[in-house]
């Protein structure tokens, strides 16, 4: 009952936002007529780096085929949170996590959940472009090959498809076998996105993916997200209010390791419930 209500409201907002922000959301109708699915459900997440309590009782639902933006001041735990979803925190010593994260009804934090499988389903793009010091082609096929694909024809196909999805194909198709380090920063970041897409993930985690890029490269990648959201569930950390407002469907506001407020982006930005959220989005935050 409540959920239906929410859905209706959301639909209205969505239409409104399309008018206001002119978001290119193509087959929105087909998505919205179907019931909105929860892709990831985080419950009671507590996270410690040693004695530093970095996440405090965080609860968040991430919707399928939606872009969820995580905002908040520096050091509030956005990166820490996004890294819990693919268990990247395991590469940091002396960390502790409590709570559950269900991806399609399965708790990924359970010790017997296979990390390799998890990271195949949940891809990650980092703040700084981090291509491997290999050729463009090798970068893209790293994941598929790692997961056992050997057929050259298939690999070629994956390279082309992934680079096209990442809107990089036209720029690099004649130099696939040259070093990825020779690409510009924006191209490198799209290559990293292509590298992620090559293993056919369901979720994309992006930690400030455009913060190292110039405005034009940023716009290119933002456009890309709009196309990708039809196939993938995207979680993006951003410091730019404009970016969050432009591209995301839902937003969560973090402060000192807690989620202060989360919900539809348009609601959160136009009528925030918490005064701290309002302070932050209006830039009155100290």
């Amino acid at each position: 009952m409540i959920e239906q209500e929410e859905n209706k409201q959301q639909k209205n907002d969505r239409i409104k936002s399309r008018l206001i922000l002119n978001k290119p959301k193509n087959n929105e109708e087909s998505i919205n007529t179907s019931k909105e699915n929860i892709k990831i459900e985080c419950k009671d997440i507590d996270f410690h780096y040693g004695t530093n309590h970095a996440l405090k009782n965080v609860n968040l639902q991430i919707m399928e085929n939606r872009i969820t933006a995580l905002i908040g001041p520096s050091g509030c735990g956005k990166s820490t949170f996004i890294r819990t979803i693919n268990r990247m925190y395991e590469h940091v010593v002396d960390t502790k996590i409590e709570g559950t994260i269900h991806l399609d009804k399965e708790n990924v934090l359970a010790p017997d959940y296979d990390v390799t499988e998890l990271r195949k389903k949940v891809g990650m793009v980092f703040q700084k472009p981090n291509p491997f010091p290999k050729s463009i082609y090798e970068n893209v096929i790293y994941g598929p090959r790692k997961h056992g694909l050997k057929n050259k024809g298939q690999l070629d196909l994956i390279v082309e498809r992934s680079l096209k999805k990442a809107a990089l194909w036209d720029e690099v198709k004649d130099r696939l076998h040259t070093s990825a380090l020779g690409l510009s920063g924006g191209q490198q970041q799209r290559l990293c996105i292509a590298r992620c897409l090559a293993v056919d993930p369901e979720v994309l985690l992006m930690d400030e993916p455009t913060s190292a890029l110039d405005p034009i490269a940023t716009l290119k990648i933002e456009d890309l997200f709009q196309a990708l959201r039809e196939e993938y569930t995207i979680v993006i950390v951003t410091h730019s209010m404009q970016q969050a407002a432009r591209i995301s469907d839902n937003t969560a506001f973090f402060l000192n390791g807690e989620i202060i407020e989360s919900g539809l982006t348009d609601d959160l930005f136009t009528k925030p419930k918490d005064s701290r959220t309002e302070d932050y989005i209006t830039g009155r935050f100290s």
């Binding site: 990390v115 195949k120 981090n130 291509p131 992620c196």
Partner: protein
Amino acid sequence: MNKKIKQKEFIIEKTLLLFAGITIITTIAIILTLFGESFLFFREIPIWDFLTGTTWAPTLKPRSFGVLPLLVGTLMVALFSSIISLPLGLGSAIYLSEYSNKKARKVIKPILELLAGIPSIVYGFFALTFITPIIKQILPQTEIFNVASASIAIGIMTLPMVASLCEDAMMAIPDSVRNGAYALGSTKMEVALKIILPSTATSIASAFVLAISRAIGETMIVAIAAGQSPMLNFNPLASIQTMTGFMVNLSLGDIQQGTIEYKTLFAVGAMLFMITLIMNLIAKGILHRNKVRY
């Protein structure tokens, strides 16, 4: 005021140039002596006989100047010491850069530095009095002086250099690259083998070449533990003589300037110089080719 600073700068610059000049002049002087005396040597002994002869007896009559036994001895030492230093050095580097935590690094790094700082004469006696008896216990036919023992000691001695050169190259790869691979589901071993090793291959190769070239030039250990018998043989348990071993042996006795023995010393020295020079050039060449920059 300005003039004074300029004068000062001028003096500093020229002084430093002089220092740099001294090393250049020394190098040139060494090369000139080496090749000058060698030239005199090859006026008496055809270079072809020198390079292809299989009997080395420069001080005994009938004299014979076939350098192959020395060359083979040297190459055997280089080969066997590499079997120790290259895989162990590379393995330690991978462990240090990819697996170890801070605590383990804190213990291992100083030990490696310590190994590198031990004088080679200590390694020589270590080979003779510790390694050789162990080998002898396992393989009783082993001679007192033998290639294997000296090679093991040289391998241990050059291991830290291989480890630290390789590790430097591996640590230069930013963690963000490793995280990218982990985020695609890679294990530590896959990151080490598929990302780190291929991207540092040139540095590793050049570290290897340098280690081999150090083994070729190593003198003390072979002089003490490998023996002084310039016989052409390929048995690692037997005594041999290396080029450096010969040189140190001969220069210990009193030899007269201008004699053939004296010139032989320089001919062998020049050959050694050429080999290590080529090895070092190869190492440099490898490094300069497609070096990855971040």
